[in-house]
Amino acid sequence: MIRIGFLVGLTAFFLAFGVGLQDRSEPRAGFGSVAHASDDAGSFIMNLADRAIGALTDPSLDDSVRAERFRELVRDSLDVDFIAGRVLGPYVRRATDMEMAEFRNLLEENIVRKYSVMFKSYSGQKIELLDTKEGSRESTTVSILVHSTDGAPPSTVRWIVHEVDGKNKIIDIVVERASMVTTQKEEFVSVIRRGGGKVEALLQELRERNAELAQSRS
């Protein structure tokens, strides 16, 4: 009766970055000989997963090295500018240039700190490309299936990708039922609202949080 069933999909939320191909011989559905945008997006995500697994999952890796490697991947593949604009919701219209620039950097730092450590717990989950679909606003949705290693049913992760200057960039990750951007937006908007509608209130929170994360995990 207690409605916490909605949390079921969340394991994958924390695996979203921490999954990849183990068995490279597994056929990759959807890769025809004809190359077009959605195929590109599909291989972009699968390659990214490969790179992440290769570079980040070694448990003996130093946390700070792992964080820096992850930062490179984030800068290369995540459209942080775009996401930064979205997760402020209507408050984006209130943010000054300076606040926006700082927020963008704090957000990137927060993503790096929050997720890089999760690769440590990677235990060989396999991923499989389900399909790629053209979405709205020239975005492409890449759906992948994450197979768990403990017999639990696989979870679906959707990567929303668009092109920036001819390069694929991720703009959202939808794990089971939850969009990361939507969830972060409601969280950030709420923090700003509690802080009297000032963007600075969120910046302060993020500065503190990032410092804590850097300390506890270095």
Binding site: G85, Y91, M100, T141, S179, S190
Partner: protein, 284 residues
């Protein structure tokens, strides 16, 4: 006391909760500032102060009771037993799920529900999910979803004591589902304690089972979230919307989640501006 009277009393206490929420809603006035107003309307949470108080209560209860019990439950029992518990709880929900499948005109899914019931009765005594292993997978359905399919609006966000996040529509659905549940009526007509209290026993078992399966995720979430209340509200809504669509393609979900045109126009400008966002851009 007649069973009908008992049911009415139950409804009455729920109605009282609703009225209380309504009273708080009436007190909270919508902000006049356009940005704040947009946020207020998007949150659709007019009773937020009351909801937050109840959320705190639920969290305290969770820490004091549910979490330790769920942890012990997970520690003490092997997976096989816990899966059996979950399968049986789901099995007992069959009548409510079937009724809602039918009310939504989902004939195929109703067939799945019925098929699951038959296979799991004969082959699994309700405890083993033989149908699920054979590809007839479990799905949830409730009257809150049925109302949504019928076009009823979501109503304000509500945080219910003990029950967790809900909405006006889902609370109404919960009341109707309770009335639809034959085991509840059986309980009203029985003097055997286990039968008489089966509704509470099932609710407790389900809470423990679900909690034991989400132990780590919830912990991570609470730890990483800057505003746990808002995060839970957002996840609840997203999960309900997906259930209403029966998990169907989220393609439509992605635009209406947040990608509205006004927003995107701002961002188009932003992307062109090589990474820096313009100050105080007005979307419309």
């Amino acid at each position: 006391m007649s069973d009908f009277r008992r049911f009415i009393n139950c409804l009455r206490s729920l109605a009282a909760t609703l009225i209380l929420c309504g009273a708080v809603a009436a007190c909270a006035t919508a902000p006049t500032d356009p940005v704040e107003r947009e946020i207020y309307e998007e949150a659709n949470d007019p009773a937020q102060p009351l909801n937050e108080a109840i959320f705190e209560f639920n969290l305290a209860l969770d820490k004091a009771v549910l979490r330790p019990v769920a942890k012990a439950y997970e520690f003490a029992l092997p997976d096989l037993v816990r899966d059996g518990v979950r399968n049986f709880l789901r099995y007992l929900k069959t009548p409510v799920i079937l009724a809602n499948d039918l009310m939504q005109g989902e004939v195929e899914r109703a067939g799945d529900t019925l098929g699951r019931f038959l296979f799991n009765t004969i082959g699994g005594f309700g405890v083993f999910d033989v149908a699920g292993s054979g590809g007839l997978e479990y799905h949830e359905e409730d009257f809150g979803q049925t109302l949504a399919v019928w076009g009823v609006g979501e109503g304000p966000y509500l945080m219910l004591p003990f029950l967790g996040p809900s909405s006006g529509r889902d609370l109404a659905g919960f009341i109707v589902d309770s009335g639809l549940d034959p085991f509840r009526w059986w309980g009203y007509n029985s003097d055997r304690p286990v039968i008489e209290n089966n509704t509470f026993i099932r609710a407790g078992a389900e809470a423990i089972d679900t909690r034991s399966r989400n132990y780590k995720q919830l912990e991570d979430l609470e730890e990483t979230s800057l505003d746990f209340y808002a995060t839970v509200r957002s996840l609840y809504r997203q999960q309900r919307n997906s259930l209403i669509r029966n998990g169907a393609d989220a393609d439509e979900a992605i635009p209406d989640m947040s990608f509205d045109d006004a927003d995107m126009d701002v961002l188009d400008t932003v992307s062109d501006a090589s990474g820096t966002l313009p100050a105080n851009t007005v979307a419309d």
